[in-house]
């Protein structure tokens, strides 16, 4: 009772604060500040038609590197905890239709994932969504069987390789033009075609591989501890 009351009071106070603060954010008519700068210069600087990808990979590339490290820490912690304290229940057999679908559908879904990663600079998508789509293929394979898929040892290798290549691509910029994660030194190409945007496609591939292998590792750890997945 006291718990509900305290919660209600805190939430009401916060709601009042939100109701007071949010209308203060005037509706903007024009882009301002750093957003304006990114939009007006983004195409020329990076050669990427998708300005969101340009911000993630090029302008804020260092932040993204840090963010990938955070993701790595979280997934490593999950896998480590599950390996240290295994809890096991046996998984059940899937129906035949589901098992067959899990054999058939991975190919096109993988193709979608690769498409989103490879076209991150032209169309919506990018390393993060593409990586999660590929990880969900791993999930589909697991849903369609009662055993653990193999690939022991391959996932960590892919993960380390992807992280390493992200860093190395950054250092390539230092070597050539003295700037970490500079993406324009390769030439930006014609915006809107697949070979454009300098380093952006390569870094997207690295991010995608890293995200995919991390989430796949988490699911594999879930499966190894038994249960429903």
């Amino acid at each position: 009772m006291i718990r509900t009351l305290t919660g209600l009071i805190i939430v009401l106070v916060l709601g009042a604060v939100a109701a007071a603060v949010i209308p203060e954010m005037q509706m903007r008519e024009e882009l301002q500040g750093v957003g304006y700068s990114y939009v007006s210069r983004g195409m020329d600087d990076t050669g990427s038609s998708n300005l969101v990808t340009a911000v993630i990979v090029a302008y804020r590339g260092l932040d993204t590197l840090g963010e990938v490290v955070v993701l790595f820490c979280a997934s490593t912690a999950v896998v480590l905890i599950l390996t240290l304290y295994p809890i096991g229940i046996k998984a059940s057999e899937p129906s035949r239709v589901v098992a067959f679908t899990a054999k058939v559908l991975p190919a096109p879904i993988l193709l979608f994932g690769v498409y989103f990663i490879a076209h991150s600079h032209i169309s919506p998508g990018g390393g993060f969504p593409g990586g999660t789509v590929i990880a969900s293929v791993f999930l589909l394979v697991m849903l369609g069987s009662s055993s653990v898929p193999d690939g022991r040892g391959r996932l960590p290798a892919i993960e380390s390789l992807a992280g390493l290549s992200f860093g190395l691509l950054g250092f390539w910029g230092i070597m050539t033009v003295g700037q970490f994660l500079n993406n324009a030194f390769l030439g930006t190409g014609t915006p809107g075609t697949i070979v454009s945007g300098g380093l952006i496609p390569l870094i997207s591939i690295a991010i995608g591989a890293k995200v995919a292998s991390e989430f796949s590792g988490v699911f594999k750890a879930f499966r190894n501890t038994g249960g429903t997945v």
Partner: protein, 122 residues
């Protein structure tokens, strides 16, 4: 009238955050708290994207429909979108950690009730 939908998006987002916070504060089952955390996460993401939204404009991706010259008056702000994109992925990784720690804590105390998880108290 012209900006009603603009403010209703903000209201939805703020409402989600508040509902999520209330759930975190008052629920007892640890997974229910994790679900409430996810809800609050979604609300915060909506609020962030909303802060970069300019009504009447289009997505910040250049193709045939918008010209490169008049782009600054045609697209929404890409910066909050980029931040939210990474925030979503981090959010689910944190939720996974939350659930795994919760499962282990409930194994140790024998119940999923957070009031009985004395080891997690400070």
């Amino acid at each position: 009238m012209s900006t009603a939908f603009y403010w209703s998006i903000a209201g939805t987002a703020a409402g989600l955050v508040l509902v999520g916070l209330w759930g975190i504060l008052t629920r007892k089952h640890i997974l229910r708290i994790a679900l409430a955390f996810t809800l609050a996460d979604t609300g915060v993401n909506l609020l962030l994207v909303w802060s970069g939204y300019l009504p009447g404009r289009t997505a910040p991706i250049v193709d045939g429909t918008i010209s490169a010259s008049g782009i600054t008056s045609a697209v929404v702000d890409p910066l909050p979108q980029a931040m939210v994109l990474t925030s979503i992925v981090i959010g689910v990784a944190v939720a996974a950690l939350f659930v795994v720690v919760g499962v282990l804590a409930s194994r140790r105390t024998g119940s999923a009730d957070v009031r009985r998880m004395k080891e997690l108290r400070w």
